[in-house]
């Protein structure tokens, strides 16, 4: 520091200013989110009965868990610079149909009826294949939006075909109830799964070479290629992770409903109608960079809880699904606006 040249010192002063500025900008964003969070929380307490109850709290984190897990999967894709899968709910659709078919008919084999392990394995296999195929095409350099739009159509069609567009139900009690409706130490199993997924994913991203490559390729794909990290394998792996997360959520949801239908995740799903939009919103509201290379599982998790909280408040205030979908839409627009205003400049994206 002492023996640096004059220009060097000037450089440093400038970059300290830059640094403080960028911290400030990031804090601004954070404080805006926090302020809204607190306002809504207070509003919730004072305007709504039953808001500050443990039961309601559990509902919030339970809701958050379902799309939170899918959002964790999607975070890998988004961080690696491959944007989104538009086939999230369709992957979940074919997977939940597959699980329900397995539980109710054993895929045609008498001995497998109601066998959780086999139904789960087949379902995860379907998720894996869906992820690998879509990732392969994206890895070849095709646009992820187009590829997954195609994948979405195919998978939804197959799911509807397979189930004759009917509800496939299986009888309670069944082997999957622990996952669907069970709880452990007072928290629903699905919430525990969410926590487990989140921790594993965060470790994977922050502590492994794979995770580092996700960030590097996402930050600059050309530089990633130049340093020996190709997007081809990265696209396949991240798409597979994401699709497997979808498959897991589908299994949990089917287990909870004890039935499955191709459009469970399109219209009927819990809070806000369209699962794909909800999951993408979760990733974005948390503040992960839409261009990749910047973000974390923590952000996604915060996004999930945030959305679940607002949604929950809308439910308690008696709003039906229409206005709630509008709410989710507004949250996406809001988060993108805030990021465009505050975050982009500091991250030296050009």
């Amino acid at each position: 520091m002492i023996n640096t040249t004059n220009s060097e010192i000037q450089n440093q002063q400038i970059s300290y200013v830059d640094k403080i500025l960028s911290y400030y900008k990031e804090r601004t964003l954070f404080s805006i989110l926090l302020t809204i969070f607190v306002i809504l929380f207070l509003y919730g307490i004072f305007s709504t009965n039953n808001y500050l109850t443990i039961f309601n709290f559990k509902t919030i984190i339970r809701d958050a868990a379902l799309y939170g897990i899918m959002a964790i999967g999607l975070t890998f894709v988004t961080l690696s610079g491959n944007f989104f899968l538009l086939s999230l709910k369709e992957t979940a659709a074919i997977c939940c149909v597959s699980f329900a078919v397995g539980m109710s008919t054993g895929f045609g084999v008498e001995a497998w009826v109601g066998n959780f392990a086999i139904s789960l394995s087949v379902t995860l296999l379907i998720g894996l294949v869906a992820g690998v195929i879509q990732g392969f095409f994206v890895g070849l350099g095709n646009n992820p939006i187009v590829v997954t739009l195609g994948g979405a159509g195919i998978m939804y069609g197959l799911a509807a075909w397979w189930s004759d567009n009917l509800v496939v139900s299986f009888r309670r009690p069944h082997d999957a109830e622990w996952l669907g409706t069970g709880s452990f130490l007072g928290l629903p199993t699905i919430t525990w799964s969410f926590i487990l997924f989140a921790i594993t994913a965060e470790l994977l991203l922050k502590r492994t070479n794979f995770g580092r490559k996700v960030y590097l390729i996402g930050a600059n794909r050309a530089a990633g290629k130049a340093t020996g990290h190709e997007n081809f394998s990265m696209a396949i792996i991240t798409f597979t992770i994401c699709s497997l997360c979808c498959a897991f959520v589908a299994v949990a949801f089917a287990a909870q409903m004890s039935s499955a239908q191709a459009n469970y995740f399109s219209a009927e799903f819990g809070s806000s109608g369209d699962m794909t939009i909800l999951v993408i919103a979760t990733v974005l509201v948390g503040g992960n960079s839409i261009m990749g290379g910047y973000g974390s599982i923590l952000r996604t998790s915060v996004g999930a809880v945030f959305i679940a909280m607002i949604d929950n408040m809308m439910v308690l205030n008696g709003l039906n699904s229409g206005p709630r979908v509008v709410g989710v839409g507004l949250m996406i627009v809001f988060s993108i606006l805030v990021f465009a205003l505050f975050a982009k400049g500091s991250r030296a994206q050009e």
Partner: protein, 501 residues
């Protein structure tokens, strides 16, 4: 003596700590062709930006027709008759030539058929020497040189009085360049003033009336072209004392061939090249933009497609299909555009430094961070990057420090062969010197270094051997004693005596 129609006096401009212009002066008379020359980073582009209104945050005075002006956007400059043709083409490829010419919408009716447009475009095309083409064909059917001419025709529709041509011939062959030069003369004869920027000194001498030389942001001289010759101009451009920036050359005699390049034919070259690289030497590939020198390097590193070629290294024959394979074979390639594929600007410096060497800092794919922090710190120390800043985003660094990171990251794999395309593009003088020093140290330790550069000083004073390229052809080779600026300039600008300078 008439007053100049445009005059810049004592203009200074800072970018952070770097002073791009230091009290620079510039002027141009009506109907004059003024050459603007200087090395990369001398401040030419900054000056042009100020003149054409892209940049108005400067100190100093800018007079147009004896009136002090300050354009806060390019449109205002355009209204005053200042038009610029950028080095990169800005035509819309699948629109017709005529539509491209009237793109800005001036001088034509709101609704017009292509036929009508074509008719109206004719006179402008004739003016730039394109009387033989049909204005209704798509712009991308024209050759690159013709597209440049169309671009100039577009500027003429704006009633430009002062035209700025930024390296219009950089990507062109001799015949096409000649058309551009003819056009420039023709337009100047109609009373328009032209600022002509080029690295090709032969062209500058052929067409300009006067020449302004910039060096390190200062105007060195505004002199009549008649009073100068190539050597004198080069001397003014380069400045002698800069010789001291370079480390002494190696006294070693290089014998062992380290890398043999056989029949390598990268995209962008006219014929395959063959050459050998000796262990521990610094080999310079010299050539102007579009000469193919950079393409050869990129191709060796597997980041550019090639039609044929084998590499032979340590008795092993191979040809990397992608950078990954090159890295496996201990070949590192630092590209010329660090923002595009050299750095992860949004990621911390230490991640940039270790990016090619993830397997060295991890065990079974798991990286707990301790090894990495040690490793990246030692790399940063090595390349004189401030160790305290390794956690900052790389994008926050100055150009020179960014380049050090882009280059330094390759030390993480201790490469046998280091290929560097434009080692010091957009880098300030201090960092330049440090980078040269470091490259020489590496070579002395046995790393073989090949670099491609358009910077003539760098090519003269840094390497132990130079190979020259001209428009996709390998021209000649200079070893140690014969490396001289004038010889090299001759070979990279006019090796076949086409211009009879």
């Amino acid at each position: 003596m008439v007053d100049p129609i445009l005059k810049i006096s004592n203009v200074s401009k800072n970018f952070g700590a770097i002073q791009a212009l230091k009290k620079a002066n510039f002027e141009i008379n009506k109907g004059e062709i003024m050459g603007l020359v200087g090395e990369n980073g001398a401040g030419k582009s900054t000056l042009v930006k100020i003149i054409s209104g892209f940049d108005n945050a400067y100190d100093g005075d800018y007079f147009l027709n004896n009136k002090r002006v300050n354009f806060d956007n390019p449109v205002k400059a355009e209204l005053e008759g200042i038009a610029i043709a950028q080095q990169e083409l800005s035509l819309i490829p699948n629109m017709s030539v005529a539509e491209n010419i009237f793109l800005a919408g001036s001088k034509v009716k709101k609704f017009a058929t292509i036929k009508k447009l074509a008719e109206e475009a004719k006179p402008y095309l004739t003016l730039v020497g394109l009387n033989d083409i049909d204005p209704s064909i798509r712009a991308n059917l024209l050759s690159v040189g013709e597209q440049h001419l169309v671009e100039v025709a577009r500027l003429l529709t704006h009633e430009a009085k002062i035209l700025i041509l930024d390296e219009p011939t950089a990507a062109l062959g001799e015949a096409e360049s000649r058309r551009i030069l003819d056009m420039v003369r023709k337009i100047a004869a109609t009373g328009k003033s032209i600022i002509y920027i080029s690295h090709r000194l032969d062209e500058i001498f052929k067409i300009t009336d006067r020449i302004t030389v910039l060096r390190d942001g200062e105007t060195q001289a505004i002199s009549n072209t008649k009073d100068l010759n190539v050597n004198k101009l080069a001397e003014v451009m380069l400045g002698r004392e800069l010789k001291n920036m370079f480390p002494p050359k190696s006294s070693q005699i290089f014998e062992d061939t380290h890398l043999e390049i056989n029949n390598l034919w990268p995209d962008g070259l006219i014929e395959p090249v063959n050459f050998k690289i000796k262990k521990g030497e610094i080999l310079g590939l010299s050539g102007q933009l579009g000469s193919g020198a950079g393409e050869v390097l990129a191709s060796i590193a597997g980041s550019l497609k090639n039609r044929s070629g084998r590499l032979k290294m340590n008795d092993k024959e191979f040809m990397p299909k992608n950078p990954q394979e090159a890295i496996k074979n201990q070949i590192a390639y630092c590209s010329s555009d660090r923002k595009k594929d050299g750095l992860f600007l949004g990621r911390p410096i230490f991640e940039n430094l270790t990016s090619p060497a993830l397997k060295f800092i991890s065990k079974f794919g798991i990286n707990m961070g301790y090894n990495e922090s040690q490793f990246s710190k030692s790399l940063a120390l090595d390349f004189l990057i401030d160790v305290k800043r390794v956690k900052d985003e790389a994008g926050l660094l100055s150009g020179g420090n960014q380049q050090k990171v882009a280059l330094g990251k390759w030390m993480s794999i201790s490469p046998e062969i280091l290929l560097v395309n434009e080692p010091t593009r957009g880098v300030d003088v201090g960092a330049k010197s440090e980078i040269y020093q470091r490259m020489r140290e590496l070579a002395n330790k046995g790393t073989t270094i090949v670099f491609a550069s358009t910077d003539i000083q760098e090519v003269t004073y840094l390497p132990d051997r130079v190979i020259t390229f001209y428009q996709g052809l390998m021209i000649g080779e200079f070893s140690e004693k014969n490396i001289e600026t004038t010889n090299i300039i001759k070979q990279i600008t006019d090796p076949f005596n086409e211009t009879n300078l």
